[in-house]
């Protein structure tokens, strides 16, 4: 363990240290604001340390972890998402009387797990990162203990994630049996050396089950709507972004190292998975009345879109995947951010009806939500558009006509439910324009006295406002001027192939 090793691992170390420090702080003195501040400081310091770690890239730490530009880029993404979640969580938890401080320990640990995943170059680190991430998320998902759904959600996630981890480990064991190594590079070399695939292919197929579960792609998507709905909104944001993004980063790293001969049978399966995810996600979202579940289905579809670019298995495809993930992170965090700040301690703002007339009650929040939804739908001016363009371009370049057509079809279907939400936010039920309410025949509640006085929370806290403002800026900025980010992505994914 040299000084260079430590430098390369500094983001990991900072976050790990922050987790311990926060735990210590809680045992010394329970204070929500101090805990949150320390957590934020740890995460920001982690972000800063990335630039320090960048001075030694690429650097292999033992056979376990690698700190190259790719790992650092995704580390930055994971940490930035964690910062946003942390800012959102503060106000959310502030409204609730339960034990709040431990949440931040879990958040830091989960982030640490994500960081380990994106830097993994060995199956052991893969599993280690996955478990650190998952175990923390088990608890975070069930954190709102007073909510009737919390325990149910926690158990569901625990059982399913545990089962999928078992698949993953068993798959690793089979691959190990065939190749005798767990390190990515030698393993890939072994795979191309052996005749036929032997046990390796069954092993990798089993591993795909575990990975597919984390990514929530069809047919391993069943948990998504349940967990999205039952978990507290900031946790949902975290599960939707960090846990999927980190896993995808790892998947991309592994497949980029894999030769075309070995990857091809797996890519066929992933192609089917991608198309099934796009269609199932979009179709299931059509009639959903709960916005968190709706976003869950939409995220299934989005992972399908990313997989289309992934299937291209080219340098351009890698860039498209990465850009799309960034766009997806920004849009999803913005959408769940709005859900978070609209929720109050009674329940979460998750029913579509809660958003009726939001444009006229909370114009800024509604505009941001609209922006996020349009970005998810891939409409220009937003980062989601550039992302979708990159994905389509990557797919067309690789002549993946069938998946790309499915993508286009899925996007068209998807528009319907994103727009439905926008329409609800636009329609007016408030006193100022009650005359128009009759126009929405059949949709409006019969008794105007029952108009949902929801959400009541009038104030957006400073931290959440900062996070949302930042996201709004990124949503628009990356949509209008994606060049610089593309440069960064181009140089950071280049070590992959």
């Amino acid at each position: 363990m040299s000084r260079t090793d430590l430098t390369a691992l500094s983001p990991l170390l900072v976050v790990a240290l922050a987790a311990v420090a926060v735990l210590l702080l809680i045992s010394v003195r329970r204070n929500h604001r101090a805990t949150a501040t320390l957590t934020l400081a740890g995460l920001v310091l982690g972000l800063v340390s990335i630039s320090w770690a960048a001075t030694v890239t690429p650097h292999q730490v033992a056979p376990l972890l690698i700190a190259d530009g790719y790992a650092l880029f995704y580390s930055a993404l994971v940490l930035a998402a964690a910062v946003v979640v942390c800012l959102l969580s503060f106000d959310y938890l502030e409204q609730r009387g339960e034990q709040r401080e431990e949440f931040y320990v879990l958040l830091l640990l989960a982030t640490l797990g994500g960081l380990v995943l994106v830097g993994a170059s060995h199956f052991v680190t893969l599993f280690l990162g996955l478990e650190i991430l998952s175990v923390a998320i088990y608890v975070m998902v069930a954190y709102a203990r007073s909510s009737p759904l919390a325990a149910e959600t926690g158990i569901k996630y625990l059982v399913l994630a545990g089962a999928s981890s078992a698949f993953l480990v068993f798959g690793m064991a089979l691959v190990y049996a065939q190749t005798g190594t767990l390190e990515f590079r030698p393993l890939v070399a072994q795979l191309s050396a052996i005749e036929g695939s032997g046990l390796a292919l069954p092993g990798m197929a089993l591993m795909l089950v575990g990975v597919g579960f984390k990514l929530a792609v069809v047919p391993f998507h069943m948990w998504t709507p349940e967990v999205y709905q039952g978990a507290p909104a900031p946790v949902t944001a975290f599960v939707a972004t960090v846990s999927k993004g980190a896993m995808f980063a790892l998947l991309l790293r592994f497949f980029a190292a894999l030769g075309p001969g070995e990857a091809r049978p797996l890519l066929v399966v992933l192609g089917l998975v991608a198309m099934a995810s796009i269609l199932a996600g979009n179709l299931l979202a059509l009639l959903e009345q709960n916005i968190k579940r709706l976003l869950a289905f939409s995220s299934i579809a989005h992972l399908g879109y990313v997989l289309v670019a992934f299937l291209a298995s080219s340098a351009f495809g890698d860039e498209a995947v990465t850009f799309y993930l960034v766009a997806y992170f920004v849009s999803t965090l913005a959408a769940f951010g709005v859900v978070t700040v609209l929720s109050d301690n009674e329940r979460e703002a998750e029913r579509i009806e809660d958003y009726r007339g939001l444009f006229w009650r909370r114009p800024l929040l509604a505009t941001l939500m609209t922006g996020a939804l349009l970005s998810l739908a891939g409409i220009p001016l937003t980062t989601g558009f550039v992302g979708k363009f990159a994905v389509v371009a990557a797919g067309v370049e690789a002549s993946l006509w069938l998946p790309v057509s499915v993508l286009a079809l899925g996007s068209a279907i998807g528009l319907y439910y994103y727009l439905r939400l926008v329409v609800v936010m636009l329609s007016s039920l408030d006193a100022g324009a009650a005359t128009e309410s009759a126009a929405d025949s059949g949709r409006t509640p019969a008794d105007p006295g029952q108009t949902p006085a929801w959400p009541r929370a009038a104030r957006v806290g400073g931290g959440a406002a900062l996070a949302l403002g930042l996201l709004a800026l990124l949503l628009l900025g990356l949509g209008l001027y994606p060049g610089p980010l593309m440069d960064v992505i181009e140089s950071s994914v280049s070590p992959l192939r």
Partner: protein
């Protein structure tokens, strides 16, 4: 820089209108008017310079150009350029924009600032579409038009506005996605030939395309434009959207958004895919004729005034499709004239129907009759624009349709003869409209104020425009001619 200004004016004006509209509704209207007026002055100034030929060339090359790298990684540039064709369309855009602000002066009373914001952003998107010379940028503006238009329909529309808005959005967006696929496909075919990834129009022109590939890519573009135009099997969004939109929305839809489809056909479909377009000509011209006749028949059957006018659009724009695929100078001149004249005449009919609806709260033709006695000015205007719509000689539409028919005759006699019946049908539905609504006894005992001075100005501008185009169309033809003569050789006949 002028080109940037042309886009920035409505964008910035719209934003300002929104902000000011929160405090003072009237301010939003005046700001919009000022921004659009400035844009119109700018466009007319460019036109004057082109006619003069001293500052700007009038020999058919591009008048003004602006290009900056935007996303160099993907070969995308912020490339705007303007020729006579774009110039005409932009002048029309700003003119119609001003009229749209004018006709919604009293109609829109809620959320005035946000309304003008959306209106101005639609116009900015339309201007962007007419100026973009990079296919990515073009798609960007193409989609940018949709969102504010969707808001215009969904917020300020009539009873069944939400389904109409959603239908409009999904139709245009889904077809737009096909175009996106075609754009990307074309760029990669070009990359395979030249080794360079570029979305620039001028780079992509002349990309050699195989038969099937070319046809598929061409169809991707064609679908997007056919939905906008609209071409008959894909037109079903149009009557709904027109009917439910507020007056300004209908005006902008009819006068401008449909024209982006026509513009796309002229600018992109044929020049980029000449071989495929040539092969597709019989189908496209047939679709055009079907649209002319089908639209006319359905217009005749409508009782809702706005739907009636909407179907006349379908019929009139059939001529555009017919003319574009005839692809000779006469036909294309006719198409350009038709784009402008249809914008004015149909737009004016929507304004009239809107004014009528404001007063009577009905668009039902069976309930309206004898209105001439109540509102003689409105009646006179109604007759004028109905006549324009049916192609009365002396008005712009006549010139346009005759040019298209003469041009198409040299390509396909049978279809041209059939299309001529569209003119006959137009007479029938136009006369029916006028006689039902304005003649006869006032059975409904209607009583309402006649057109106000503001409305007379709005309609008067359109009357003047149509008369001018009908009697002295030469300036418009001259402005478009160099651009068209540049385009003509791409598809030799």
């Amino acid at each position: 820089m002028t080109l940037i200004l042309l886009i920035a004016l409505p964008l910035g004006g719209g934003f300002l209108a929104w902000m000011l509209g929160r405090f003072h509704a009237q301010a939003a209207r005046w700001v919009s008017l000022a921004a659009l007026g400035a844009g119109l002055v700018l466009a007319l100034n460019l036109w004057a310079e082109q006619v003069g030929g001293e500052v700007l060339p009038n020999d058919g090359s591009w008048l003004v150009e602006f290009s900056r790298a935007w996303i160099p990684q993907l070969g995308i540039s912020f490339h705007l350029a303007l020729d006579g064709l774009s110039l005409l369309m932009i002048a029309l855009t700003f003119l119609v924009g001003i009229l749209a602000v004018g006709c919604s002066w009293h109609e829109i009373t809620t959320r005035v600032g946000f309304f003008h914001f959306n209106l101005m952003w639609v116009l900015a998107g339309v201007v962007g579409v007419f100026l973009s010379m990079d296919l990515f940028l073009f798609y960007f503006f193409w989609e940018l038009m949709l969102v504010p238009m969707y808001f215009l329909i969904a917020i300020w529309g009539h009873e069944r506005r939400i389904p109409a808005a959603v239908k409009f959005f999904i139709f245009t967006q889904a077809s737009g996605l096909l175009m996106l696929l075609a754009i990307v496909g074309l760029a990669f075919v070009h990359q395979r030939h030249s080794g360079e990834l570029s979305f620039d129009y001028f780079d992509l022109l002349g990309t050699p395309l195989g038969g099937v590939t070319g046809m598929l890519l061409m169809l991707g573009f064609f679908f997007a434009f056919a939905v906008k135009l609209p071409v008959v099997p894909l037109h079903t969004w149009l009557p709904d959207a027109h009917t439910e939109a507020p007056t300004a929305g209908s005006l902008v839809l009819a006068a401008l958004l449909l024209k982006t489809g026509a513009y796309g056909l002229i600018r992109f479909v044929v020049p980029l895919f000449p071989d495929a377009a040539l092969a597709f000509t019989p189908v496209a011209m047939t679709l055009g004729v079907v649209g002319i006749l089908y639209g006319a028949v359905l217009a005749f059957a409508q009782t809702d005034l706005k739907r009636l006018v909407a179907y006349t659009s379908v019929s009139h724009l059939g001529f555009v499709l017919l003319g574009v695929f005839a692809w000779n100078e006469l036909a294309l001149q006719g198409v350009v004239m038709q784009m402008i004249c249809h914008g004015l005449s149909t737009g004016a009919l929507f304004v009239l129907v809107g004014a009528l609806y404001e007063r009577t709260h009905t668009r039902d033709l069976t309930r309206l009759s004898g209105l001439w006695a109540v509102a003689p000015k409105m009646g006179a205007m109604g007759v004028f624009f109905a006549m324009a719509s049916l192609g009365l000689p002396g008005l712009g539409n006549f010139i346009a349709e005759i040019l298209v028919l003469v041009g198409a005759y040299s390509v396909n006699v049978a279809l041209t003869v059939l299309a001529t019946f569209g003119l006959v049908a137009a007479t029938i539905y136009s006369v029916r409209l006028v006689s039902r609504a304005f003649h006869g006894a006032n059975d409904g005992a209607w009583k309402f104020p006649d057109l106000s001075a503001r409305e007379m100005v709005v309609l008067g501008v359109m009357v003047a425009g149509l008369v001018w185009l009908g009697l002295y169309p030469q300036p418009v033809l001259d402005a478009a001619a160099p651009a068209l003569s540049q385009l003509l050789p791409v598809m030799p006949r």
